[in-house]
């Protein structure tokens, strides 16, 4: 069956960007703020300057790392029905992030996000059927800073049965998050077989690996928790002004992180990823609703296939401050390009203002948009039955197909049925309240929060997690 798919870069172009990345890594190299990570790189065969905290990586080391990396990754969930595999067969969506602000769906006010906001967010994500995994999209700003990431992990795993993709800003944080996940699945060995968490660990473009984050990469690599390095060079600022150049920086960061993972633990699961894009060239801030954002993701997805690695790209954010027409067109544009190019994971639902603000209504709206685009992406089958020559003859000129068995057999597969989009005639729509899509989505959010109760963790596991949390608090809060 033919499916529409975008794949516009030639093998030569992909190879050229690959070779350019090799040159960058061999000549310019990376800055790594962690001695531990520099040790891993040196042992791997990189040239390391401990004083300057720099490493250059030769091509043969990178090739070896790509060879070692698993080509498919299983992401598990505390409810196995939500397990999925990154094997290029399907796209798995997550929520956007990480935002310090939320657009309050009751009042429309933009305010700092809280623990309660995150809990509600995860519950909505647990409900929506096009989300296969979740991010801790809004920061629990009312939790002391050193405890925010661990709290996010606990809140996510307690309020959804789906896979959680978190983040750790230090080796110790990573260790606590691993412990929490292991408590749920029944131990570290079990977590290796069934990783119910994965982690996004961003380098700082261009080419800098922060101490805490890269040491967390090593911790996750060692226990088999998948890591998505998620580079984010922005054209003109932290990446070259050209798309190709920014893809090269993104690629180089991916490959460097891959080397660290694969030489910390051969066979460590790594997801080739990309959050790179462009900026608003007036003010310099990130512009995640921009078309160049879309095209960089398309390139990254094709680069991932070039290496035959599992992939994660972005799609669907917006620079608008509210769920309006700008939000609609920007997210639909980059969702279409990312979905039709194809990646294993696409982030994410719910983002506004370049992911600095999350909007619960947009979780519901994005679920709908993605559903519609998936229909486009499914293509259609051409065979004797679908060609319908017999039923066309049966119906004849001037007849209709509504009452036909053939129609009954196919209509649900072929025609997309919207969830919340309104297609009524004007009068019916007016009589029903003349509501806009964001108003309908707001009502849906209220409904989900009132009625959907995610399966809680078993009591004994909750208690175990409580004990882990107390230890983490004692460690992280005592010094501050």
């Amino acid at each position: 069956m033919s499916k529409p798919s975008i794949s516009f870069l030639s093998q030569d172009e992909l190879k050229a960007m690959h070779n350019a990345s090799l040159q960058v890594l061999e000549k310019t190299g990376i800055k790594v703020m962690s001695r531990k990570a520099l040790d891993v790189l040196q042992e791997a065969g990189a040239k390391v300057d401990y004083e300057k905290k720099r490493a250059t990586i030769p091509a043969n080391v990178i090739e070896e790392a790509v060879k070692r990396a698993p080509k498919t990754i299983k992401c598990c969930a505390r409810n196995p029905k939500y397990d999925f595999v990154l094997d290029k067969k399907e796209i798995h969506f997550t929520t956007d992030g990480y935002a310090p602000f939320i657009r309050d769906f009751e009042t429309g006010e933009r305010r700092s996000s809280t623990k309660a906001d995150l809990i509600a967010w995860i519950r909505i994500a647990d409900y929506l059927d096009n989300l296969d995994l979740v991010w801790a999209s809004v920061c629990p700003g009312d939790v002391p800073a050193p405890m925010q990431k661990i709290t996010e992990t606990i809140i996510a795993l307690s309020n959804t049965e789906k896979h959680f993709q978190g983040e750790a800003l230090s080796a110790r944080e990573a260790q606590y998050e691993i412990e929490i996940a292991a408590a749920i699945v029944g131990g570290k060995e079990e977590l290796k077989k069934r990783p119910i968490i994965s982690a996004v660990q961003c380098p700082i473009a261009p080419l800098v690996f922060e101490e805490g984050s890269v040491e967390a990469v090593i911790e996750f690599a060692r226990v088999g928790v998948p890591v998505a390095p998620l580079p984010m060079p922005l054209m003109c600022e932290t990446g070259p002004a050209t798309v190709a150049g920014t893809v090269v920086v993104c690629n180089a960061e991916n490959l460097a992180s891959l080397v660290i993972s694969e030489f910390a633990n051969p066979g460590a699961p790594v997801v080739y990823s990309c959050a790179a894009g462009g900026i608003d060239i007036k003010t310099g801030s990130a512009a995640e609703g921009a078309p160049e954002y879309g095209i960089v993701q398309m390139a990254a997805a094709q680069m991932a296939r070039f290496y035959n690695l599992p992939s994660l790209v972005c799609g669907g954010c917006s620079d608008s401050k509210l769920p309006d027409v700008q939000a609609g067109f920007e997210r639909a544009m980059t969702l279409t390009t990312s979905i039709l190019t194809g990646a294993d994971i696409i982030t994410g639902f719910g983002g506004l203002n370049s992911a600095s603000t999350m909007s619960p209504e947009l979780l519901v709206i994005d679920n709908e948009i993605v559903d519609a685009i998936f229909r486009v992406g499914r293509g259609f089958e051409v065979n004797d039955d679908t060609l319908a020559v017999e039923v066309i003859d049966k119906v004849g000129p001037g007849g209709h197909f509504l009452g036909q068995r053939h129609t009954i057999e196919y209509f649900k597969k072929e025609t997309w049925i919207p969830g919340i989009s309104d297609r009524r005639d004007f009068t019916s729509w007016q009589e029903a309240g003349s509501r806009s899509l964001d108003e309908v989505a707001k009502e849906k959010v209220k409904e989900i929060l009132a009625t959907h109760k995610p399966t809680p963790l078993p009591e004994d596991i909750e208690e175990e997690i409580s004990r882990i949390l107390k230890r983490a608090e004692a460690e992280f809060l005592k010094a501050s």
């Binding site: 310090p100 602000f101 925010q148 002004a241 060239i281 310099g284």
Partner: protein, 209 residues
């Protein structure tokens, strides 16, 4: 004789080497240093500012023009007498402790320089004491603290406390993707700006007080 308008044009075009060479030549020719500064360099950067405000120029053009001006200024500074240059103010800029994000703060620095401020960039992951030290050393009017992460913006309050304890006259300005006016008010910062262009306006306000 080097036409000062040529220096001005090259500032506007962001031609770093050209500006340096032309300024050197003008100095060697014996042209008045103050005139080179005002008509060549400052004149150029003023036009850049106007073009930016009108939407003709964007951030990359602002930054490269400011680099060109800075390069010309390096040549002139040792030759300028006290009182020749009315510096708008002195700013010490750094990223908060635990945070190594740099680009936003650097853009603010460049735009402040373009507006006539003396800027010292003290780097990333800077502790409160270091901010105070640098402010003292540079006799700063403004201390600018930047942070991207929600986990590091909490350190901004430490800088404000340290500045108060040291009895410095410097005003503390903060910025970063997670920072808001509300947060700035809460921790007692003297100023906040949401992006680099408005940071310049805010800084001008603060030095007037």
């Amino acid at each position: 004789m080097v036409a000062l308008t040529k220096i001005k044009e090259n500032v506007i075009a962001g031609e770093v080497d050209e500006v340096r060479d032309l300024v050197k030549k003008a100095v060697d020719e014996g042209q008045e240093v103050k005139k080179i500064l005002h008509e060549g360099l400052v004149g150029g950067i003023q036009i850049v500012g106007e073009k930016y405000d009108s939407g003709e120029f964007f951030l990359p053009e602002m930054v490269i023009a400011a680099s060109a001006m800075k390069e010309g200024l390096k040549v002139l500074t040792p030759l300028l007498k006290q009182g020749d240059v009315e510096s708008v103010g002195t700013v010490v800029l750094g990223t908060a402790q635990g945070d190594i994000h740099d680009i936003g703060k650097s853009i603010v620095g460049t735009m402040l320089e373009g507006a006539g401020f003396m800027v010292t960039n003290i780097g990333v992951d800077v502790g409160a004491e270091k901010f105070v030290e640098a402010a003292k050393e540079n006799n700063a009017d403004i201390i600018g603290v930047s942070a991207l992460l929600t986990t590091t913006m909490v350190k901004m309050e430490d800088v404000i406390k340290a500045v108060k304890e040291a009895g410095l006259k410097a005003k503390v300005m903060i910025g970063g993707a997670s920072v808001t006016q509300e947060f700035a008010d809460k921790i007692g910062a003297d100023g906040y700006a949401p992006d680099a262009p408005s940071a310049v306006g805010k800084a001008r306000e603060l030095v007037k007080k």
